[in-house]
């Protein structure tokens, strides 16, 4: 496109964003409920931001499924991302958490869209084509996934990574002295990599990157030799910079790596998605989950809905009709290198993520991380969709470049464009139930393409306006159907929206027991209902009938004071005995020794039998609000501090999940925490006055996480500063 005079693009961007916000106003305002995974991610964010705002880096969630370590959920969101702090800023500006969170999601998506525009601009070296790419992305259904998925958390940093990477490649390809620019763009790559590797599944991104590298090497191997040569020269001259770069990247891997090691221990389970039987890690995914839904199912599913756009709903893959018209118009073109690069990239990603094709099966067998992929269809959304957009826009560019100059040929090519539009129109009319603005978009596309390719409208304003209208008209009408088909009014609070970090003690000592239940419990009867939890809590949850909320009622009695204990062998669990303790409240805690602790446990059991011989038949004591011998002093998600004043040695069970990361202290000295009643924490407390403290995670881990937050923030500020300097130097 001829750049006759520079046109200010920001009004077009603002207009596009306003139209987009208008389309999703119901969801953005919070009137319509979040759906599916978006709801789960809202919970993770809410919990994390709440705690960070209070100055606590959360490591444990006592409110979820009997108490669980929070690391899995933090790795899901990539908790060290400094941009999440925007939510706190929005909240400080007076917004509710939901408004702040939704505002952040929209901001993050727009940031991704701008990143996509800039990447496309680098790729095309032209703002007009980049703007078309931006519009196609913004008005695709990727934006709808803000409200039912978490794809955006990977998409935005990934787009920006490719922006910085392309910049580095281009700078290294030139002979000019660009040291400062290369450094800043490498820091951009570093920051986005840190964000991506901070999540528990960076493998999606790694696959996209790997396929890009393979496609790039296959097509540009000669040019890449120069790039690598210059990179080596740059690294030789800036050894300290490269070392620091690598060190920071290495540090950002650590939380993910520790998390993976933790999940291999088998202490935590993901019963809804884990394969049955032995697996190396709890993160492994049952193949049934994967083979139920891959990328090809997503495409066929979407095509079913696209044949009647009035039924448009969440998870339907939609691109404005203009993209398809560009695709078909470019089908007869001679390909150039860039088209080949994009084509190979698309093909590889498609073959990898289509579980019905033999390639996926091969990769799953031979590449270790493929067993962790649960949602292969995500590749369609955060990689194939943007690459396809760039591909079709590149086709437009090539079409313009190859547009003939001879009159007869020009007529033929114009005829071809018209023919494609008419064929498409006939297809729409005969095979689908079209909406009115599809016709409008097809008409505008035809006018735009014929005009643009013949080079008639020289006024850039009209060109940008025409392409804007050709894309947004249909999209706006389509997005109006989303609330109709997928919108549910938000009528109740989401999890954590009501105060939740409170340790509420019961009012009475009453223990209502259902004796009949004991007869019916023989083995696991309930289907798994916990997404992620402790292995033995999950076991309890599956054997105790859920109808009468027995397990919940037991957990609500936060502290239980026992006079007697008995050993519980995890290899031979006496279910009846266990359930007598949990359902009937007998005065006998069941304690499990960790390997090497068996002798201590036996001695302690004998001791308390001797001390409390008379109390054999009484019921367990429940710590109520007015219980005098135990008083809670301090409580947050990671810690609990209480004081006791018993007249004899007692075994205290704190009904919160037992995990090996918990540490106990009595009057400042270490206190052993035992697995009590199969899934909870228990401890022997001597008579007299004592202060007990329970903490989850080590102090080192805690401060390491804070340190990482500061490191991420530091790199981000450094990057912003560098970009600012480059822009205005």
């Amino acid at each position: 496109m001829k750049q006759t005079q520079p046109l200010k693009l920001w009004p077009f961007f603002i207009l596009s964003f306003i139209v987009w916000i208008y389309c999703f106003r119901g969801f953005i305002s919070g009137k319509l409920s979040l759906s599916s995974d978006a709801l789960a991610y809202f919970e993770h964010f809410k919990f994390y931001i709440d705690q960070i705002s209070r100055g606590v880096y959360p490591q444990w969630d006592p409110t979820r499924d009997g108490g669980v370590p929070i690391e899995f959920f933090l790795r899901r969101i990539g908790s060290h991302n400094p941009l999440f702090l925007l939510i706190i800023i929005f909240e400080k500006c007076g917004l509710t958490f939901l408004q702040a969170y939704l505002g952040f999601l929209v901001f993050y998506f727009f940031l991704g869209a701008i990143g996509f525009f800039l990447t496309a601009k680098l790729f095309f070296k032209d703002s007009f084509y980049a703007f078309i790419s931006f519009l196609l992305l913004l008005f695709s259904s990727l934006g709808t996934r803000l409200f039912d998925s978490y794809i955006i958390l990977t998409f935005t940093p990934m787009v920006w990574f490719f922006y910085f990477l392309l910049n580095v490649i281009q700078l290294l390809s030139s002979d000019q002295d660009n040291v400062q620019k290369i450094k800043i763009n490498l820091i951009g790559c570093l920051f986005t990599l840190m964000v991506l590797f901070n999540t528990y599944l960076p493998f999606y991104f790694l696959t996209v990157l790997l396929t890009f590298v393979i496609a790039g090497c296959a097509v540009y191997w000669r040019n890449l030799a120069i790039v690598f040569k210059n990179l080596y020269r740059f690294a030789s001259c800036h050894k300290v910079f490269i070392c620091v770069w690598l060190c920071i990247l290495f540090i950002s891997f650590i939380p993910g790596w520790i998390f993976f090691q933790e999940m291999k221990k088998g202490e935590f389970v993901l019963p809804l998605r884990q394969p049955p039987g032995l697996s190396q890690s709890s993160l492994e995914v049952d193949p049934i989950w994967v083979t139920k839904w891959g990328i090809e199912e997503d495409i066929v599913y979407s095509s079913a809905y696209l044949s009647d756009l009035r039924r448009f709903k969440f998870a339907v893959f939609y691109l404005p009709v203009f993209a398809y018209l560009l695709f078909f118009s470019g089908m007869f073109l001679k390909f150039n290198r860039r088209l080949v690069l994009l084509f190979i990239w698309i093909l590889m990603l498609f073959m990898i993520s289509a579980q019905q094709l033999p390639f996926y099966q091969f990769l799953k067998t031979h590449i270790n991380f493929f067993k962790y992929f649960r949602n292969l269809h995500f590749f369609l959304w955060f990689s194939l969709l943007p690459i396809f957009i760039v591909f079709v826009v590149e086709q437009l560019k090539v079409l313009k470049e190859q547009w003939p100059t001879e009159k007869i040929q020009r007529i033929l090519w114009n005829g071809m464009i018209i023919g494609i539009h008419i064929t498409f129109l006939i297809y729409i009319l005969t095979q689908t139930k079209p909406i009115i603005f599809t016709f409008v978009s097809i008409g505008l596309s035809l006018i735009f393409l014929l005009g643009y390719l013949s080079g008639r409208p020289t006024n850039q304003f009209w060109l940008y306006s025409a392409v804007l209208l050709a894309i947004i008209f249909e999209a706006v009408q389509v997005f109006q159907f989303l609330p109709v088909n997928s919108g549910v009014l938000k009528t109740h609070s989401y999890r954590y929206e009501k105060p939740y970090v409170k340790l509420i003690l019961p009012d009475s000592q009453e223990w209502s027991a259902d004796k009949e239940i004991l007869q019916s419990i023989k083995s696991k009867t309930n289907p798994p209902s916990i997404y992620m939890g402790l292995k033995w809590y999950n076991f309890l949850n599956q054997i105790i009938p859920q109808e009468n909320l027995i397990l919940q009622r037991y957990i609500d009695k936060k502290f239980l004071i026992y006079d007697r204990t008995e050993a519980l062998d995890l290899k031979k669990i006496d279910l009846q005995n266990l359930l007598k303790t949990i359902v009937l409240g007998t005065n006998m805690a069941l304690v499990t020794a960790q390997p090497g602790e068996e002798k201590i446990l036996s001695a302690l059991n004998k001791l308390d039998s001797h001390l409390n011989e008379e109390k054999n038949k009484t019921k367990v004591q429940i710590v109520t609000k007015d219980y005098g011998q135990l008083e809670v002093l301090n409580y947050d998600v990671n810690n609990l501090k209480f004081k006791t004043d018993f007249n004899s040695m007692k075994f205290v069970v704190y009904n919160d999940g037992y995990a090996s990361g918990w540490r106990g202290f009595i009057d400042g000295k270490p206190l052993n925490i035992w697995r009590a009643n199969l899934a909870f924490k228990g401890m022997w407390i001597p008579e007299g006055k004592h202060v007990i403290e329970l903490k989850y995670g080590s102090t080192g881990q805690y401060w390491f996480n804070y340190g990482l937050l500061i490191l991420f923030l530091g790199v981000f500020i450094y990057l912003l500063n560098g970009l600012f300097k480059i822009q205005y130097r």
């Binding site: 066929v300 007869f332 001679k334």
Partner: protein, 232 residues
Amino acid sequence: MIKFIRSFPQRLIFIYVVLLAVFIFLLNGRTIIYKVQLQTLNRIKPESFQPLRDSIEKQSVIDTRKLQDYIFYYERVARYVQPLSGDIFGALGYCYYLSGDVDRADNSFKQAMKLSPEYFWYPYNLGILALQKRNSDAALKYFQLAEKADSEKTLLSIVSSIQIYMPLIFNRNEEPVPWLAERLAEGFHQKNVLLLYSEAFSRINQSQDSAEKKEADELIRKNLSSIRIQIF
């Protein structure tokens, strides 16, 4: 043109053609697509068939949105499932009829009758639709076809329609076969009545007396109001 053919291997369309051939012939593409379509159908399947069940049993009114969901589902079943069977179009025709789209209902029942000619309810429904359109000759033809239908085969078709008809019957507490047989017997009886109406109406149509015609028309309108389309 020659220039275009010569440059064909350099064009994008060439790659698509090659890939399509690889997909179809080397990777057994049709089987893959079929599998994928079945997976998709499982996801599109409405969460509950209760409203449709109630409509069949208790003649209750279905919410328009839910009805559209059923139509959407059965349309996709008709598009994806191979080999096609009459029950798919029977259920689809029934839903079209409930939505007020009589022409589509008519076409679907015709398609269903073509695929399952021995099934009683399809010609029966087509006869009713023809009568509603005051097309007595066509109604007569369809009721005569219904008369020839095999009740045993009709029952057998229903109970072997595991994916389509059985979900609409399955939650009944009682054994479904006696209930279905009873409905079928009622249907046969009703068909005899309607056959007589059709014959009479056909004869009146041939007469010149407009008052008689009007009277017959009124009679049919009254009697048809209580008769409903049924699929089993």
